[in-house]
Subunit: 132 residues, 2 copies
């Protein structure tokens, strides 16, 4: 939806946010780049949810256009791209953590937050990179 | 996606949450029932985002099946239904508020949180009803 058409319809901040990231796959890609420090297309594709490559391409492109991630060519292979989270992208961390906290407290199988250590390390790495 | 099929794919709490409410329209309906205290189909339909009636019907039904909202017949008109938030639905308030906070801080037009007073009143009303 364009900014103009949205503006004609709603001035709600929740609506504004959801126009940008109110989509399961967008949020899962953000999870992977922010909390798991993924940087390569194949890494995103390897996530347990098995995102389809066309959907992944679309979401990465949109996230790049909206400034949530930076997209650069791989200096060692021009056909490959390197994705990294930006400061704007990192500002979504509290949203992701609230969603994670809700899931962990309502689903017995995820209650142990199995990726806690991995996430912790990756968040530090993502923050360090975004602030460079 | 069924619980079984999801379990085969991912144990991530974010993925679990997004399978339930990782959709723009679902979250907007939750906003309306939690933060604006809406209870009638026509009230949800009248929101600025102009949700299509078939999508609204679908999301209300799913939210009822998942226990986020209660759906009752209107005692004064059996053709009408009354929707209200449950305790489980209210547990999503922190997620909605994080999304609102992000939108308010990133969009100049929504920065003033124009519905603050209305939301505050409606949240109190929703909590009171859910705890009855």
């Amino acid at each position: 939806m364009s900014t103009l058409s949205r503006r004609e319809k709603s001035k709600c901040p929740i609506s504004y946010s959801l126009d940008l990231f109110g989509d399961k796959w967008t949020l899962l890609v953000l999870r992977d780049v922010i909390l798991h420090g993924k940087t390569r297309f194949a890494e995103f594709q390897s996530s347990d949810e098995k995102i389809a490559s066309n959907i992944l391409s679309d979401r990465l492109r949109r996230l790049g256009e909206q400034g949530f991630i930076a997209i650069e060519k791989d200096p060692s292979d021009a056909r490959q791209k390197i994705y990294s989270v930006t400061k704007k992208g990192l500002s979504l961390t509290p949203v992701l953590l609230e969603i994670a906290a809700w899931g962990a407290s309502h689903d017995g199988q995820t209650g142990e937050l199995p990726h806690t250590v991995e996430r912790s390390d990756s968040v530090c790495s993502s923050i360090t990179n975004a602030l460079r």
